[in-house]
Symmetry: C2
Amino acid sequence: MPTTASESAPWTLLEELAESGDAARLKEETDAMGLRDTARALSRLDTETQAKVITTLDPEDAAEIVEEITDSEAAELLAMLDPKQAASILDAMESAGTADVLSLLPEDTVDELLSHMDPEEAEDARLLRQYEEDEAGGIMITEYLAYPEDYTVRQVVSDMRDHSEDYAHYSVQYVYVVDKDERLRGVLPLRDMLLTPGKEIVSSIMIKNPIAVLDHDSLDQLVDFFSDYGFLGVPVTDEDSKLLGIVRRGDVMEAVGDRHQSDFLKAQGIIGGEELRTMPVMTRAKRRLAWLSINIGLNFIAASIIGIYTGTLEQVIALAIFLPVISDMSGCSGNQAVAVSMRELTLGLIRPTEFFYVWLKEGMVGMINGVALGVLIACVAWLAPFGLWQGGPALGLVVGGALCLNTLVAVLLGGTIPLLLKRFEQDPALASGPILTTVTDMCGFFFVLSFATALLPYLVGGE
Amino acid sequence: MPTTASESAPWTLLEELAESGDAARLKEETDAMGLRDTARALSRLDTETQAKVITTLDPEDAAEIVEEITDSEAAELLAMLDPKQAASILDAMESAGTADVLSLLPEDTVDELLSHMDPEEAEDARLLRQYEEDEAGGIMITEYLAYPEDYTVRQVVSDMRDHSEDYAHYSVQYVYVVDKDERLRGVLPLRDMLLTPGKEIVSSIMIKNPIAVLDHDSLDQLVDFFSDYGFLGVPVTDEDSKLLGIVRRGDVMEAVGDRHQSDFLKAQGIIGGEELRTMPVMTRAKRRLAWLSINIGLNFIAASIIGIYTGTLEQVIALAIFLPVISDMSGCSGNQAVAVSMRELTLGLIRPTEFFYVWLKEGMVGMINGVALGVLIACVAWLAPFGLWQGGPALGLVVGGALCLNTLVAVLLGGTIPLLLKRFEQDPALASGPILTTVTDMCGFFFVLSFATALLPYLVGGE
């Protein structure tokens, strides 16, 4: 079975067709592959070859593919193209996608690209770039249909028919009705227009004072909104009711998924943005190292506790076997509590101030599991299977007691850290793990080694 | 600032109104709160009180709230109700939600509930329960509109008008056209019906041979599908083209988000399903302990390597300080590689057989970061800040060399484990972490202690 790129690999085909400049055949092959598989194949090529493929296609086809690769790949790719070519691709993309990609490029590149873009598209992109990606303005699209209040149904239908090509990519379930200052006055479901004679004025049949969200509403508020209402989309306005765009249910769900994915990556130490293995090695190494450097620093701090007790350790060398176990297990217990707190914060089930509630609920679990794990490790330490160390009841008591106590510490801390970080507007996914393991390591090492120091006569006497 | 439930807490209000049986006031308050906030408040009550609240509302209102709480909460709650009451709530829920909740209940409870449900709803639920939650059949809804081929546009519009109450919850953007055997023949966008005279026969204006997905198509295939097509929904058929339901874009995006969330929880050690702090303490403790027990077992295996080298450790006690650091840092490096492999698998950028590609890409990063971290820890070990241990160049060489080498091992392993697990159809999110840390711990301990044993004269001579 093939484990590396063979001649038949789809990316090799893309590369060959782009090199030969056979635009017709390339278009045919990418159509046959489908957008997603084309995007995948493209992702396996270096940026220079990607650029050749993309510029061999016409801008509309290129735009569809660029929308499918990750934003960071798209940014790198577009930065490599001739600005005019890049601008024509950006013109053909959905406004929200254009804004996301531009946000990853340096300011002067953005200015140049915007200057080459279609003025209307550039204006949309400028508007969307003002928003964070987790607020309504950053999730909305600016492709929507809005008509003046005095239009008849027939005029609306006739405009839709005349521009059906242009609107083919719009998700038209509603049309919006605006006044002269572009303020949102009403909404018209397509369904209602079906049942209405063409001569009616839209303002007489529209749903007045339609529900809208504000441009700075958060992703959480949007999730709540779509839970409360069955709509597929909702108009977005500024504080003066000016219509800015629409947010679609699917895009909100996708943004939530992206946030979960990003939380997972951050908790695993992939920070500073997406990493794909097609990115340059030095970029990947440097980003990962930034995270690792912080962790090794924290590890040195925790390990220094052991350094204080080398006297005890010299006399009871078996403790050295259990230090990593206690460190790792406390991390595991604490991370479970972190995960539950993050889940409950996401669901909106706890507020960042409810420490006592979390402590009560975690404390009970921590005591049960602390005793269970403590007894288990105590037995192992006492019985010393395979005679790998000098076992005994005192050793069991020391490591069992330490793990029991430290499990409790770990779940109390793990449950609380995400709340604290959230409360101080830090990112719980990013910082919870390192803070947790540093503190639980320090406590764990301290418990084991201070208990051992106190019981030293019994530990050494057992030899 | 309040940190526990105060008198004004929304859940207290729900409880009071349910206790007093004031259905009208309860309905009013929950309407004012919105579905999502009501669901949140409900989640903070114990199951018995939840049951009181839910049965005070009429089944339609109750169903909307039950759809907002998590499936596991909903299952627990419905199991506590009188089966007839539970069935009437299930009847009012969307078919997909009903099936999800039933899948969490014991077989005999399910049978009893189904027997009390509306026969049509029960049939839908039985159909949906056959599918996994990550295939088209498990994500589809059975609320769609289908009409015979020989209907006129007028008949369709008139049926929609007559049943506008019943269909109010349907997301009607398309209607489907079926033959006598319920096989899908065509699809009719509402938009097209707008522009068509009422006397036309639907089969003459419908889009023929419409695109559909199969009931057993995977979530990944659905994501690909919606990337390739701009549709908001797609019909689901069996292999004989029989129309079974529709899958909506938003539901697919939501399922992807759920999977990311579940991956995050599993990687953090929350397994066996959702955990919320309102669940019984023993359930929570037992589930967490199942995971912790496996981990402590693996930890003992890894720590036994240290046991083999206690002789060396006794002579160079400073090594005990660095063992937990090397264990933790290798875990960090390896987890980064795990995260990137999982991300690339999710995006479909690598196949589970591409070991060499991953090794090549990870190997380069591993060597760079291994050298960087190795030099850093070597300097710290040599210089021994604060004099907490006996430093020296030989100690630096041992721990630096070990961390350098083990970082390489960790990223190679971390990059590969998710591919291997995926290839053998195991869950990478669940098992990657424990397997990784066990192997990297063993290797890390072995490198440090075997290097130290080899260089023992220089290490001890430095004293």
